[in-house]
Symmetry: C2
Subunit: 278 residues, 2 copies
């Protein structure tokens, strides 16, 4: 026997599954988690919804950055290997601060969404819809220009889309839904965009109504692109027999309201969420 220095891993020891932190202002980030689970069924996840402070979309960049750092540090304390900022507003304004503060890789949803839209557009006219905070930040506009200089970008804040999605008023045949969607999207229809970024995690629930208002327009949901980029970093699971991941949910407000709607966003039941004060 030789003495060895430093940690060694026997070649046959099971590796630990990757542990992904997912952070959102509320429940909407579960649509991003849904895409991550489809791409990485073996990963463990820790989801934190900052439900006591939701929404971020109407708050200042300083306040959103402060809250984002607090929640990210909590997840870091739980041993995550990387962080996905599922909230578009936090991705738009807090990513540099998060990348500076955290010793693990940090993925946002803005850059992947912008890259996907830049690849999808044929005519070079791209629309972006999001919260007032996301649109005011100009983050999508900048990321689209970086991905493909010369793109024509039309951005529009749609503050009523989040409460519509949370009310479950998403039926494209509903006159209220149709009226709100058409009003917000009229400038994008007038600008003849051929691609539209759904720049808020709630908006995929309104996808049918949005598609009905903008026929023929490619809708880009950044969740799938983020999931593909995370999967590329983490690599394939060691084998088909690798067990399914373990998923924990944390919220900063009482869990009841989160649990009542979480399943609709994640596409599978969410049984429990732990209340934390961060």
């Amino acid at each position: 026997m030789h003495a060895v220095s430093g940690p060694v891993t026997p070649p046959t020891a099971p590796r630990r599954a990757p542990r992904i932190g997912i952070f959102d202002s509320g429940v909407g980030g579960l649509t991003v988690q849904r895409a991550l689970l489809a791409a990485l069924p073996h990963a463990d996840t820790l989801y934190l919804g900052d439900t006591a402070r939701v929404p971020y979309g109407t708050k200042s960049a300083e306040t959103v950055t402060q809250y984002s750092l607090r929640t990210a540090r909590f997840l870091l304390g739980e041993g995550i290997d990387l962080l996905v900022v599922a909230c578009n507003t936090a991705s738009a304004v807090a990513l540099p601060a998060l990348r500076q503060a955290l010793p693990v890789p940090v993925f946002g949803v803005v850059e992947p969404g912008a890259r996907a839209a830049a690849a999808a557009t044929r005519g070079g006219r791209v629309g972006v819809i999001g919260t007032p905070g996301t649109v005011a930040s100009g983050a999508y506009q900048a990321a689209l220009q970086a991905a493909r200089p010369g793109l024509e970008v039309v951005a529009r804040a749609c503050p009523l889309f989040v409460p519509l999605a949370e009310e479950g008023w998403t039926d494209p045949a509903d006159e209220v839904v149709r009226g709100v969607v058409r009003r917000y999207l009229a400038p994008l229809a007038a600008a003849a965009v051929d691609t539209l970024v759904l720049g808020c995690t709630h908006y995929p629930l309104l996808e049918e109504a949005i598609a009905a208002a903008l026929p023929g327009v490619v809708l880009v949901d950044s969740a799938r692109t983020v999931a593909a980029e995370v999967a590329a970093l983490l690599g394939e699971p060691p084998g088909p027999a690798w067990p399914a991941g373990v998923h924990r949910f944390f919220v900063t407000d009482a869990p009841a309201r989160f649990l009542a709607v979480a399943g609709r966003f994640l596409g599978r039941p969410v049984e429990a969420a732990e209340h934390v004060d961060v």
Copy 2:
């Protein structure tokens, strides 16, 4: 000359104007301040909008109580003589905790609104509309029963009314406004209520649209009742020459968004607001 012990006030010295603290989750409480300024033009006011954590209406009672105590203690540190909790949700769930914690009188908006509605109804069927938090608390329902036992009460949460008011979509002829208002108020129309409590400080901005959907129904805005009760406690100003009050505004998020809409709610310009971290 006699020696006197204890503080004395010469009869001719000007008394200090009363200093009223007004607290709301955001900008809506300015409709209550508006009524207070009309009733008590000589009072000084300190308004705090917890704009970093708005809205309260979708959060749990525990979280709303915790935030309410923090903001109330800040105002107490500024020397207020009494506190008006302009936020219906905080009035509904946090009033006992606030009254226990503060050494000054605390007014909510729920009890005055309920008393006004109980006095106004002729048929004994009263509707209440508010945030999910206010309606779920049952506070209006209990206060109405206390004010007049045997009243029939129909309560309904209207989560889209706040974003509609903040978007400025309040025109009763607007098809979206009409559609949303009719949908929420349909159960109240079916129950044939003759009186409706506007149980959220944003709702007076939708008063015309609500009145159009419920013709003949008496609409009760608790702001005026609260102002009258505060005025009764404070008494008349010492004389007509008493100068107009001084008004300061505090917000917990960056002031820009607050200042952009504050004038519409207060009915007079709001020039500046100070950012505080409470």
